[in-house]
Amino acid sequence: MDFAPALDWLQHTSLATTIRDSLLLFPLLESVHVIGLALVFGTIAVIDLRLLGVASAQRPFSRMASDIMTWTWVTFAVTALTGALMFITNATVYFNNTYFRAKILLLVLAALNVLVFELTARRTVHQWDRSPSAPPIGKAVATVSLVVWVAVIFAGRMIGFTATRTSTVDTAAPAEINFEDLLGLPAGGDTGQAPAKGPD
């Protein structure tokens, strides 16, 4: 399936153009994305550490989960929305960026990990709700979750170093002097797109 026309259409929508042409919108989207992902990972880590028995070991798991997961979902929605808005400003470049693809795969992995938990440890929660830690499968899920989310954060940060953010999508990046290139910051991705331009 050829995604190119769809990606091209996305980055030419008036919404994408508005964000791209604004001095402030992209940095604000990035900021809200960071606030959102900090809350997503922060709340998920609290649940994972409870499963592992590292923290909150005396609190019933089900009570904690119902308390906290609502906030995880709300902040995940905010993070996904801001991420999507950043994506459409330069859809073709992001879509072909290796770190972007890795991040999406890691997010799928995180979702599958939640599915494994729901189908296993969650079903027997009445047996271990008040135990200091979850059964082995619950601990495994929690460990995978912590590792995958840290990897998601790293991949996300790498997108900023390897993907272009240009104000004009169709023309090649102008050959202007780039302070970050002078400093030798990693420029240009492994996907052969134009060198990194603008703030990382």
């Binding site: 308390d67 170093f161 030798g184």
Partner: protein, 173 residues
């Protein structure tokens, strides 16, 4: 400050980070974001407890003792990784308005966090019985959360300091 930044960029640790920037900068930034997540998660759950929107099965003191140490620990992690970023890219950080406003708010946030931990221990009963009900305390809970969110925005704006116009020392150089 600019002279200091230039000097700092010639020191051995700075040169090391500059020479290994391809992995050093993103790795340090990623650890910094993990620390931010620990701060935001801890602040969120303590503030939600004060507001009565989560954690009602725990006392205020239990909540503060559960998340306070993680908040403090994460702030130390952020100090170390933040310092590494300043050492690695002194001009990018020190010659910006966003950075210094951020540092002022971080100092305020850290002081408030320490004071909160202390007063919860010393006046536990008063907090549980009356203080936590006060609208002013609930407003303060929301304000501190918003302040930490603003700190994140300022951190991101370090890379876009020109948005401050003439307030930014990086503009017009």
């Amino acid at each position: 400050m600019k002279q200091f930044a230039v000097w700092l960029s010639t020191t051995a640790p700075s040169v090391f980070i500059q020479e290994h920037n391809a992995w050093a900068i993103p790795v340090v930034q990623s650890i910094h974001i993990v620390g931010i997540a620990a701060v935001m998660g801890s602040v969120l759950l303590m503030d939600l407890r004060i507001l009565g929107w989560a954690g009602a099965d725990q006392t205020l003191r239990q909540t503060a003792e559960r998340f306070g140490p993680w908040l403090t620990g994460a702030l130390w992690l952020l100090l170390v990784t933040g310092a590494l970023m300043v050492i690695g890219e002194p001009m990018r950080e020190l010659v910006t308005f966003s950075f210094w406003l951020k540092m002022a708010l971080v100092a305020l946030g850290a002081v408030l966090a320490v004071l909160f931990q202390r007063t919860i221990r010393r006046h536990e009963q008063r907090w549980e019985d009356t203080l936590v009900q006060r609208p002013s305390i609930k407003a303060l809970a929301i304000l501190t959360f918003v302040m930490w969110a603003c700190i994140i925005v300022l951190g991101r704006l370090i890379a876009y300091d020109h948005v401050w116009g003439s307030w930014s020392p990086a503009v017009g150089q």
